[in-house]
Symmetry: C2
Subunit: 208 residues, 2 copies
């Protein structure tokens, strides 16, 4: 692979595009968009995505519901933007952030930190990730492939032998939104226990 | 665990019920049911499930289409019965059959054989398993839990340390119907390669 490499010799992954090709929003539109996203994020954190309606979001943002639909098209559209922004923040952290997630830590330590961090993310974003996971186009494309690539690279850098794609897939099954939700809510497991399980499997695959 | 054990000390798993509580079918009805299932199995083997219609099945079985709907309710009903019969046959093989699948082989050998056998099954039953996998009720209940239990028991008998449920989940991700289909049809992998990958992960988890 001849892509740019970070200081640990890991190829640097392509970053998700920062915007799209639509023209820049006017000031009011951009401000309303930010107000709506902030309100939605706060409500989802408080109640879980399932319990948040477009009425709630518009009221909390102090804008009309028509504005929400003009900016995001639908409730689903807003939730996808919200997920995408949070995905980008986590992505920045694991590609460029401080250790143990970022590139200054050794690969196995990064892999263990990634699992525990992603478990928290998956728990707080369950409803939307579960929807997205049922869509096969999404499942085998970005940003799912970005996680696959990241885990694969860390396994490789940690000296893992054998089929790296398969081992990344096996490991990532422990971060599947529905699996995590089922373990936490139906089986009484905790995020710490699921993080320990991630560590067990990651260490065995790396041979450490 | 105090359940009955086989000769290798493995608890014997409960077997799926052989029938349901409906009264026995009359001779004609039972014969038509068998003819329709045989025809459907043959056509699915030849063309894949997606390309088989109820017209095809009824014609190949030499019965009217009305008979098909009386016996199975719908095309989906027939396909579920077909999958269930084939699941039972594979289940018999891995619970009670000859080695390397069955109980006379050592646990790791059984686990490796199970992976390769199940990959073939998943490939030939892709369309229906994929439908069923999207249904969460099915995903976390029998027969999915039966596979989880079987793999967990074999890991345990092979001396695997750490969280057995998580490791069984990670391993079974390599047999997921959509994953296998994607690897075979979009990535150009072969069943033999996917079987080798299963073996790599299984051996690492068992520490062998």
């Amino acid at each position: 692979m001849s892509a740019a490499q970070d200081r640990n010799g890991l190829p640097v992954l392509p970053v998700l595009p920062e915007g799209d090709s639509t023209p820049p929003e006017r000031g009011d539109a951009a401000r309303n968009r930010a107000l709506l996203l902030d309100a939605a994020r706060r409500l989802v954190d408080e109640r879980g995505a399932e319990a948040v309606t477009t009425d709630d979001i518009a009221a909390a943002a102090g804008v009309g519901k028509g504005t929400l639909f003009r900016r995001f098209g639908s409730r689903a559209g807003l939730m996808i933007v919200l997920l995408d922004e949070d995905e980008k923040a986590l992505q920045q952290a694991f590609l460029f952030g401080p250790p143990p997630l970022g590139p200054e830590a050794p690969p196995l330590q990064r892999l263990l930190a990634y699992g525990r961090e992603r478990l928290k993310f998956v728990d707080s974003h369950h409803a939307l990730l579960s929807d997205v996971g049922r869509d096969l186009q999404m499942r085998f494309n970005a940003p799912a492939t970005l996680h696959q690539s990241h885990v694969r690279l860390l396994l490789e850098s940690a000296g893992t032998t054998g089929d790296l794609d398969a081992q990344a897939t096996a490991l990532l099954a422990l971060l599947d939104a529905d699996y995590v939700h089922h373990q936490l809510h139906d089986r009484g497991r905790t995020l710490a226990e699921l993080g320990d399980a991630w560590e067990t499997v990651a260490r065995k695959l790396c041979g450490s």
